[in-house]
């Protein structure tokens, strides 16, 4: 017997993600899914953002990692609430993991929730976790061809942060090339060139956050 099914394979993940999104919308929380390669600087960007905007917004972080709670401890040092998810080898966060992590988080009165995905430019793109927007972080030490190699992630992103621009004099990284390919399938993608080490360029990223947050209020 042949059963025509025509069902999205990841519908179970999508359903939980949609429920989470409704839940966050009802509480007017801006939720951002932060994705990048390992070592691009997701946690550094969060440390800076949480520290610099501490007086402005109430923020929290869900940290996804294969192992350890190192990142959650770094984030918690800024005073923000942080919950760690260890995926035990899993290469991405799923919506059910985020739903589980929420049980350990007090989200009342929260302005912005960051979900730091597992460092990986491939798999996290396929799994919605209830976010308003996906943000991709790229760093100058990774090579300017990453947007060309991993088109889906850049296509789905609402903004791109290019980190480690303080190293530009020491690496062969063509910003124009990286930006061109990131925008090929995402014409209006904002690109924020920053250095989390020196603080350069972070102001524009903060302004984007403020505008995105204001749109949720």
């Amino acid at each position: 017997m042949k059963i025509p099914v025509v069902r999205k394979i990841l519908e179970a993940n999508d359903r939980i993600a949609a429920d989470l999104k409704d839940h966050f919308a009802a509480k007017h929380i801006l939720v951002l899914n932060l994705m990048s390669s390992p070592g691009a600087g997701k946690t550094s960007l969060l440390e800076k953002t949480l520290g610099d905007l501490r007086g402005e917004f109430k923020m929290a972080v869900i940290e996804g990692d294969l192992q350890t709670d190192n990142d959650a401890r770094r984030v918690a040092a800024t005073g923000a609430q942080a919950v760690q998810i260890n995926t035990e080898g899993g290469c991405h966060l799923s919506s059910s993991m985020v739903a589980e992590a929420l049980k350990s988080l007090d989200i009342e009165g929260l302005d912005i929730l960051f979900i730091e995905n597992v460092g990986n430019l491939v798999c996290p793109a396929e799994f919605d976790v209830g976010e308003d927007f996906k943000i991709t972080l790229l760093s100058t030490t990774e090579g300017d061809d990453k947007p060309e190699k991993y088109p889906l992630m850049f296509n789905l992103s609402k903004a791109m942060v290019l980190n480690k621009i303080d190293l530009l004099p020491h690496v062969d990284f063509d910003m124009a090339r990286a930006t061109k390919f990131a925008r090929a399938l995402n014409k209006d993608l904002p690109v924020f060139a920053v250095s989390c080490r020196t603080g350069e360029g972070l102001g524009a990223w903060y302004d984007w956050l403020r505008a995105a947050r204001a749109a949720k209020a």
Partner: protein, 120 residues
């Protein structure tokens, strides 16, 4: 290896559909995946074998079909499916009609769904 999560979701759906139709033996399952998804067919097949082994779903055939990447030109609206030299779908190509290089919309290639299940 997110293919394992995909296969697990696939098998959950197959089990539900079979149960709903009173069927117990999986013969064939057809999956369509878009050329832009990060799905590696070999990894799906490996995951399918690994996760069905020793279960009532073992022995079923997983049939995979790639759905084309379709871009819609951001300037003139032409839909086209660029391929690279090795025959794989590409995503960065000028519009064959007007030459526009950026701002194309993705009109196809992100699909990931079950088309049908054959069981008895």
């Amino acid at each position: 290896m997110h293919e394992l999560s995909i296969v697990q979701s696939l098998l959950d759906l197959a089990e539900k559909e079979m149960a709903a139709n009173g069927l117990t033996k999986l013969l064939r399952i057809k999956v369509i995946y878009g050329g832009l998804t990060a799905v590696v067919p070999d990894a799906l097949e490996l995951g399918f074998e690994a996760l069905t082994a020793g279960t009532p779903l073992a022995g079923g055939v997983l049939e995979l079909e790639e759905a084309p990447v379709i871009l819609r030109c951001g300037k003139c609206g032409l839909e086209f499916s660029p391929k690279d030299a090795s025959g794989r779908y590409g995503v960065f190509a000028p519009c064959p009609a007007c030459g526009e290089e950026i701002g194309h919309a993705v009109a196809g290639g992100k699909e990931l769904f079950i088309e049908f299940i054959e069981a008895e």
